[in-house]
């Protein structure tokens, strides 16, 4: 199938890479042609990010050969790769949260004045122009860390897209974006392709991959399993190759319309009335029953992520009241919220996990007080961690491995695992399946249903219609900081959600 393709720009042959004796890539071949958008899919831990990091010079030690424009290359650092025209947007953001937006856009390549000092006015001006051409509404002087994750992701995109790279690697660039931003990104990618750039696009949203890519490569278990031009393949083909067996029902589990169950006859677990926070949301009221999954959907910047943080006491609301199981509560801090019976998984992994610590400590952190009042019981912690590793299919299934060594999707599973042991009254999940592969998403659906059936009230907040549709019993839509629409006990599909948002 590769016969009639234009000349290869980047060629990798027989790439193998292992971490501490565990193979992440085995004899992988990969070819990127000039002016193509190349989709890359595979389950969590299949080795996608690892191969991309080899191309981008992050991993310098590996076996195999790499050729760029016909010449053998071996990068010893990310800088080498950048100088050779390769830019990468990492799965985990690699920006500096303490710096301003403009500084981040020009990270490592600031415009200089004649005297060799940083040309601040020009930097701000150019950053503003570049962001605008991408349709990103962000003040170049704002501190990056204060912006929502999706916006940070767009800014990282801007940095790489405008760095002049010939080869642009996007490792799950859309995982925190909502449909309008994704559309904007895609039209930009097409423009870049026209100008002769080559793009590698990794995503677990198979529809997106099929929509944007010219050809797709599938990885499984560190091996390249298949490669095909897009018009010849469909979603079922991708899934079959990804998981190695026929799994037809996965393919259409998200695209169809779903019937919402509607409000159950149970007690109200959480009652929110007139909640407001300047600049984020205003006058939010809703009720969450125990034993239901309430989906809150909205585009990026609709205030739903801030609402979640506020409910967990991270950024307390300025006005409004909260009742937990009928009792009024004031959640002025996260530790209070936890003690009151709330649990929260934020959308950003970086702010949820301890990369240097082993998996079991990441899982047990929120339940240490349940295990023992004063002392640690590492054996108990490990038992619990092993149970969660089993439930969620975390791979590799080890409680001792350093969290940072897990693949992106598996890290997300650990973030979720943390709260599943503690039986909260209300579980708030912000983008719970971000970065997970199709199989893992199914697992999460199963687990959340189980949690719900145990009588816990669950709130699922997302900018992806699929996530909300696959999980929720009832859906609220937020727009510009206000609740605009409720869907309950009816059929609903992606189109209706998008129209309401």
């Amino acid at each position: 199938m590769e016969g009639e393709q234009p000349k290869p720009l980047l060629e990798l042959r027989g790439i193998s890479k292992s971490f501490g004796g565990v193979a992440a890539l085995r004899e992988v071949d990969f070819t990127l042609s000039e002016g193509e958008i190349h989709g890359l899919v595979g389950e969590n831990g299949a080795g996608k990010s690892t191969l991309m990091k080899i191309i981008a010079g992050v991993h310098a030690a590996y076996q195999g050969r790499m050729q760029l424009a016909g010449r053998p290359v071996s990068f010893t650092s990310a800088r080498d790769a950048r100088d050779a025209g390769i830019g990468m947007v990492h799965q985990e953001l690699s920006l500096v949260p303490q710096l301003t937006v403009a500084e981040n856009v020009f990270l490592g390549a600031q415009p200089l004045t004649r005297f060799g000092t940083v040309d601040w006015p020009r930097m701000r001006r150019e950053a503003a122009r570049e962001l605008e051409s991408l349709g990103i509404e962000a003040d170049p002087a704002a501190i990056l860390g204060t912006l929502p994750l999706g916006l940070q992701q767009l800014i990282e995109l801007a940095r790489v897209l405008f760095s002049g790279a010939r080869i642009i690697i996007l490792d799950e660039p859309t995982s925190a974006l909502s449909p309008p931003e994704i559309e904007r990104l895609f039209s930009l990618l097409r423009r870049l392709r026209e100008s002769g750039r080559s793009i590698i696009f990794i995503s677990h949203f198979l529809d997106d991959v099929l929509q944007i890519s010219d050809s797709v490569t599938v990885f499984r278990n560190g091996r390249r399993i298949a490669h095909a031009a897009v018009p010849t393949i469909d979603k079922a083909w991708l899934i079959e190759n990804m998981i190695g067996r026929d799994h037809g029902e996965l393919a259409d589990s998200y695209v169809n319309r779903v019937e919402l169950r509607g409000r159950p006859e149970t007690d109200v677990a959480l009652e929110v009335e007139g909640l407001s926070l300047t600049g984020a949301f205003s006058d939010i009221s809703f009720r969450l029953h125990s034993g239901e999954v309430l989906g809150i959907y909205g585009f990026m910047g609709s205030g739903q992520l801030e609402l979640a943080k506020s409910l967990f006491g991270r950024r307390p609301a300025e006005r409004g009241t909260l009742r937990l199981a009928g009792r009024p509560v004031r959640l002025s801090s996260t530790s209070r919220a936890r003690r009151a019976g709330l649990a929260f998984v934020p959308e950003s992994r970086r702010s949820m996990l301890f990369a240097q610590e082993p998996v079991y400590k990441n899982v047990s952190i929120a339940i240490l007080d349940h295990i023992h009042r004063f002392m640690l019981r590492p054996a108990r912690e490990r038992t619990i961690a092993h149970a969660r590793i089993g439930d969620l299919g975390i791979r590799p299934p080890s409680a001792e491995i350093r969290l940072g060594a897990l693949s992106g999707g598996n890290q997300q599973k650990v973030a979720l695992a943390k709260w599943l042991t503690r039986q909260p009254l209300v579980l708030i999940l912000s983008e719970p399946t971000r970065g997970m592969d199709v199989g893992a998403k199914e697992d999460v659906v199963r687990i959340i249903r189980k949690v719900r059936d145990e009588g816990i009230g669950v709130i699922v907040i997302s900018t992806e219609p699929e996530t909300v549709l696959s999980l929720a019993d009832r859906i609220l839509v937020m727009k510009k900081g206000a609740m605009t629409r409720e869907f309950a006990a009816q059929w609903v599909g992606k189109d209706e959600l998008l129209a309401a948002a």
Binding site: L353, M375, R402
Partner: protein, 341 residues
Amino acid sequence: MDATARTERRTAGRTRRILKDRLRTIAPFATLVFLVAFFGIASPSFLSFANLQNVLQQISITGIMAVGLTFVILCAEIDLSVAAIANVAGVVIAFFTVQDSSVNIANIPLSGGWAILLGFAASFLLGGVNAAATTMIGLPSFITTLAMLEIGAGICAVLVRGQIAYAVPPLIQTLGSGSIGPVPWIAVMAALVMLISHLVLRYTRFGRYVYMVGGNREAAEYSGVNVRWIVNSVLIISAVCSGFAGMLGVAHFGSAQQNEFDNYLLDSIAAVVVGGTSLFGGSGGIGETIIGLLVLGVLNNGLDHVSIDSFVKILIRGLILLAALIINIYAQRLRESGAAA
């Protein structure tokens, strides 16, 4: 590539990785072994039993302060007021003890127990001020404890008014300058503080939270850890340890006066950092601090045993500290690139 070459490369890679991972703990230990060997050969008196006793005694006061600081640094905070708080506690117990009539300060004699209690109370209070300013007002601990350094010096100045007091309560006198058999009491006290702190850090929920807050404060917060409470606690622990060190120190030196512990600030920070506890929080511990203390103790003591210009001594200490800082920061980089990869 043939098979043996490949295995060789793989083993080499693994050794390198282990070395990288452990750099922060291996380097201080290697330094210690090297220094002991060097001074042992250079000077016959260095490895004598009496000198060993000496080293122990010399590092005990620094040790108690450094243990408190270890908590703070593990949380990715800093405490610059340890020496000042030690000084305050030392002056306070002297102030509440009967002094010889030749000492011209308006002291208020109380029974020994009360004086000791007040010494601890003073350090607890000053630690509390550090904590409140850091977590409630939100100033960086670097700034609050710098201010506390001045405040502490001020309190001492007001209490002793340039005089020197000599008497301390008998219990403190024994613990600071007595010994049981060949072992100085002060070393026993330091060992006790270290042991307790080690147990707290390793085996209690509080200890785990300290590491987690230092490792990723935001994640700790999102896990429902009461981050403020942890930061408050470590600053108070540090102050109380310093206070204890100060009281013992006054007995050890046989006098309470202004600026008595000024050298100890840098020494105790150096001990923690040289030992390999990360300045960025989240990794390290009491074991590391003990190694750091021994490195500094052996260095200080050993340089006295070989004939070196005392000015060059200062230079050598500075260079060792610089090397330790470079290793500390380099190890952090490795850790971070490991995490990103």
